[in-house]
């Protein structure tokens, strides 16, 4: 296992390399995911950090584990790295159970949240640390370190110690060090949390490019949904030790599976109610605060089912209230009358808080597509908030 992790001879890893390793059983290799987590549970005393969690991650994915602090995402990552042992369940890497494999023998590397750079070693020696342990030849180490330094653009810094580097540079050293052994899977624990906003955004792009060009599998833990949505090809949303939903960023946002996910990822208006009728894939839901709402829904739902309707603020459009408005739009099925309570101008968009006649507040976000917008709404103006049946999502309660 240690022998194959740093493949010294191949200068570049291609996307297929990881799954096409001869070590994996030939028949299962084709459809077996690179990483399979099967019913994994981890308890700390009486606290269940990870609760019977199952997840498949394919080779070459950029996977994000997203969740609030304490949801178990870091514990899961640490179990993959080998720093924690699952109480139940199995973790298979390339079809093999890695439970008995000690951390220092796993073909997996981790980038630590605090970077965990060795303070007594130079940039070069930090990056070379893992290569030396793998018994790589001196010349090969020099070449690889050179590649890594170039990859993270730290040329000329090789001799510096970590305390002589800026936060951004330290982050790059940590990244280079964890990539140097060319792991099958790179685990990143809140890799950008310590950087300021501007640097974080540019580093996100760099990580994505790096992952694409190396064809490596990245698993990143983050509490920042924007970061997860920007970088990841798939996101697993975790809550209280379980995966609430695993989906692409788009599906997670547009088709959340639970009320919790809808609220955790992005901003949302929620209306509680119950199903009153169902025809032609359209559900009519009687809500407490917004009257009847019609939502397109493929699922059959029994009348009387308690549900929530979720509508993202940018899907809620506004009209000037009154009979003269162009209410002729046939798709504007759901209309909620109210008064503008306040207006927040955010630059790229403007958020209106509309107080409905029932007293509930609905948020509507509008992109400021023109510089001089005449269609603005003022506070205490009466408006009609509307959205189409396709814009709402029905969530069972």
């Amino acid at each position: 296992m240690t022998g194959e992790s740093p493949n010294i001879d191949t200068p570049k890893i291609d996307k297929a390399a990881a799954s096409a390793r001869p070590a994996a059983p030939a028949d299962a290799a084709a459809d077996m995911p690179l990483l399979r987590i099967e019913g994994v549970t981890k308890n700390f005393g009486s606290f269940r950090a990870v609760d019977r969690l199952s997840l498949d991650i394919k080779a070459g994915e950029f996977f994000a584990l997203l969740g609030p602090s304490g949801c178990g995402k870091t514990t899961l990552l640490r179990m993959l790295a080998g720093f924690e042992t699952p109480d139940e369940g199995r973790i298979l890497l390339g079809g093999r159970d890695i439970a008995p494999v000690l951390p220092h023998e796993r073909p997996v590397n981790m980038m630590f949240q605090n970077y965990a750079l060795f303070p007594h070693l130079s940039v070069r020696d930090n990056i070379a640390f893992g290569l030396k342990r793998a018994g790589m030849a001196r010349a090969a180490i020099d070449t690889r370190v050179g590649e890594m330094v170039a990859l993270v653009r730290l040329e000329g810094m090789e001799r510096r110690k970590p305390d002589q580097l800026s936060g951004g540079q330290r982050q790059r050293v940590a990244l280079a060090r964890s990539l140097a052994r060319r792991p099958k899977v790179l685990l990143l624990d809140e890799p950008l949390a310590a950087l300021d906003k501007k640097l974080r955004e540019s580093t996100q792009q760099e990580l994505m490019e790096l992952q694409r060009s190396l064809g490596m599998t990245f698993i990143v833990v983050t509490h920042d949904q924007e970061e997860a949505m920007t970088m990841a090809t798939r996101i697993g949303v975790m809550n209280a030790g379980r995966l609430e939903q695993v989906a692409t960023p788009r599906d997670l946002y547009e088709a959340p599976r639970s009320r919790w996910v809808a609220e955790f990822v992005g901003d949302v208006n929620l209306f509680d109610g119950e199903v009153v009728s169902h025809d032609h894939h359209r559900l009519t839901i009687a809500t407490r605060d917004a009257g009847n709402i019609v939502v397109a829904e493929q699922r059959q739902m029994v009348t009387g089912t308690a549900v929530s309707v979720a509508i993202r603020p940018e899907k809620v459009k506004l009209w000037h209230h009154g009979p003269a408005s162009d209410a002729g739009h046939s798709h504007a099925v759901n209309r909620l009358a109210g008064v503008v309570a306040d207006v927040s101008y955010l630059g790229g968009s403007t958020v209106y808080r509309i107080k409905l006649d029932s007293g509930t507040v609905v948020r509507s976000s509008m992109t400021n597509t023109t510089r001089l917008d005449i269609h603005t709404y003022g506070v205490s103006q009466r408006v009609l908030a509307w959205f189409t049946p396709d814009d709402g999502v029905v969530l069972e309660r």
Binding site: T2, L102, P103, H104, A116, F118, R133, S178
Partner: protein, 304 residues
Amino acid sequence: MSARRIFAQPARYAAIAPYLWMVLFFLVPFGFVLKISLSQTAIAQPPYVPVFDFAEGWTAIKEAFAQLSFDNFKLLTSDSLYISSYLRSIVVAVTSTLILLLIGYPIAYGMARLPQRWQPIAMMLVIVPFWTSFLIRIYAWINILQHDGLLNQVLLALHLVSAPVVWLSTDTAMYIGIVYSYLPFMILPLYATLSKMDASLLEAAADLGASPRQAFWLVTFPLSLPGVGAGALLCFIPIVGEFVIPDLLAGSGSMMIGQTLWLEFFTNKDWPVAAAAAVALLVLLVPPLLLYDRLQRRTLAGGG
């Protein structure tokens, strides 16, 4: 600007307290000792000449100054008694420090790895023996190590030896005493560095393929070197000048400089030579003291 105002007037005067302390209790007495070391022994009260008598006027003091000489220091370098005493002091100090390091490091390491709530208790266990008088503890060792003492009784009972072993008045006894007495001074600085160490560094080492043993030698040990240095110097410096432990536990065969000094002062009544020996010892200890100071500064800068 506002930083100045943080310190009220009394606090600012308090800042000179350490300097005042240094002048009153180190520099002034050291001046006396230095002056005595440059004097000649005499059968008088005090037992040396010249004596500065400020009542006699300026010329008398000038005359007294003219009588000062470096003869005593020349004696120190020419008489093998002093040279061998210094050498023995250094050999004993180096050996003891190495033994202390070998024993203290594993203890400190173990303490630092204990669960958080046990660490203060372990610390207490290290410190508590020091609530008993040092002299009493050394006398206790005499009791343990003597011919029919506890150690020999245990060894005989276990049939490990057939006749009582001579422990007392040997170098072994002295080393036992020194190591026992100085162990906390080795453990505490080591524990301070080891317990501050970031646990994620060891995880990073493991993640990068280092076995636990490699992780220790490549990460933990190099990072604990400031603690090793502090502990070693904290023990080495006082052991060089140690008097009580070798006097009570070691044999009379060879002497450490502290014992020689005592002999010159109290038995020979040769205050000037004793003073010169003390000054020479101090000069000998300046390099390690400076080293210690530098290490401390670096630790403060790095850790802060």
